[in-house]
């Protein structure tokens, strides 16, 4: 297993649209293991393949308190069940150090495949619902900062670019 490098905003590779996973093999299994390890190492609760520069429709999530219930979603989709919205102060491993309030549908049905390719569905609510939507956005080249004003987004971009120059 190995820790993968997480791309950071405004890296243009975060803007790519991921393509569906069609091959369910041992290589995919290794990628999932690595993504989970990377997510746990970074103290995250969700990570999309896009964030580690793999442009496949795949995400890993663990919202449990003890970090012992990893979930893998391959080719995921999210269908809104109710119109109710919830606000959440979202932060992202690809936008370190910044949080913004994002409003998203509270409850939805997630359809996806597991690592053997078998399809499954589950109802997502609470933090899981927010997290799945946040990660699926990554697969479509979208970030949580796209939901805030252009001015605020620019300010975050400037600060992170400065950080990146410092560490380069």
């Amino acid at each position: 297993m190995s820790i993968l490098q997480i791309l950071e905003f405004p890296d243009p590779r975060l803007r790519k649209t991921a393509s569906p996973v069609t091959v369910f093999d041992a290589k995919l299994e290794v990628l999932i293991e690595d993504m989970l390890e990377t997510m746990y190492e970074a103290d995250g609760i969700g990570l999309a393949a896009t964030q580690v520069n793999v442009h496949k429709r795949l995400l890993v999530i663990d919202v449990s308190e003890n970090k012992d219930s990893p979930q893998t979603f391959i080719n995921p989709s999210f269908e809104i069940i109710e119109d109710e919205l919830v606000e959440y102060d979202e932060g992202c491993l690809s936008v370190p150090g910044f949080y913004e309030t994002v409003s998203r549908p509270a409850i939805g049905k997630v359809s996806a495949q597991d690592l053997t390719g078998e399809a499954f569905e589950l109802d997502a609510y609470g933090i899981l619902s927010t997290c799945v939507q946040h990660e699926i956005d990554h697969l479509n080249g979208k970030l949580f900062v796209d939901y805030i004003s252009a001015l605020k987004r620019q300010r975050i971009r400037n600060k992170l670019e400065k950080e990146h120059k410092k560490s380069a």
Binding site: D43, G44, I45, G46, L47, V63, S64, E65, V86, Y88, D89, E90, G91, C92, L93, G97, F98, Y99, E100, Y125, G126, I127, L128, T130, C131, H134, E135
Partner: protein, 433 residues
Amino acid sequence: MNPPNSRAIVANILSELLSGHGSLTTHLAKHKEQDEFSLIQESCYGVCRWFNVLEHILSGLLNKPLKTSEQNLKCLLICGLYQLRELDVAEYAVINETVSAATVLKKPWAKGLVNAVLRNYLRKKDEIEQALVDSAPAVLQAHPQWLQNQLNKQWPDDAGLIMQNNNLRPPMTLRVNQVHKSRKDYLEVLADSSIQAKPGELAESAIYLEKPCPVSDIPGFAEGWVSVQDEASQLIPPLLQLSAGQRVLDACASPGGKTCHILESEHSLTECLAIDLTETKLVRIKENLERLGLKATLLAADASEVSSWWDGKMFDRILLDAPCSATGIIRRHPDIKLLRKPEDVKALQHIQLNLLSALWQCLEPGGLLLYSTCSILRPENEELIGRFLESSDNAKYEGIAADWGVECRFGRQLLPGGNQGPDGFFFSLLRKT
């Protein structure tokens, strides 16, 4: 995505309450799925309970007051102080998590301030706590000034104890559905399940659990053997003097505890009509009725707009458990300390008098109306009844002969009890002549 920060969630909830939005119950309902829900809940309740004390300590630790626009930052600092004072969480964990919550609140500039304030508190803890005891005893009562003033004026002998009891954690009280089992038999069921409990001294159906527990752990709860209800509310059905064939109205019924208790007490009522404002409120009543296997007629309406719901048939008994300041149940809802404003009492009086006058016309001559509130403020209670009696020519005040509570001019007042006592509650019984 980054994990949620429970301290930031607490700060946001408290900030909403300080702005007068929502209640602890409504805000916390949105976070039930959080891993750290119990910490969030405990911190929110605790901060509300001790808000005035914590605010006082904070002001001593800041070089200059925070701007009013920094309300959520203030709430975050207060939450940190609460956790350092009261919770069994490692100090470094409280400080680290509270500092990183500043970033989540989009105020990374405040990280240094949060760190300094919390560390400063720890360093000067003994001195600060001693100064509180010596110089600010009124602050330690942890009630807003206006409410302290009212209580001191209205209950000069009892105000200190009232406030002390308001700051206690409430007991969990059960109401035994005596259709299934007597209280004595149910106490044995509890003993068999190793749940420590004792009978209430005022209401014949009440049982106090020594420690609160989830309802799923209570034997026979799903089967309707018992309900969770404070002892004060359980005094209502006997006061109504129910008998077979009566038509009964419960005018502000949600969540239906009293409706169900009325039906448990008298099985042969002609009808029991339960009204509350919205369909959502009726859902709670319906759930309770179903669990207990009882039947009532439910109606979503404003009880004070009689023409919108009344069929013209008189009621033999009316229970008006009126909307009120809820100052008798601060121990259960400590957010009342932050939410309630002195001017609310006047607005509530208006609603109470409207309801009482409107419902009076639906009462059969000779029939009884029981007016109750979970308030301990006299203007909502005996003074309100006094005003109603003055304006009415066919209402007579019936005293309540009982060995509990404080006899008032037009009713009986229970003051908030201790760990194993009832909520603060007012009762007044009126007869139509």
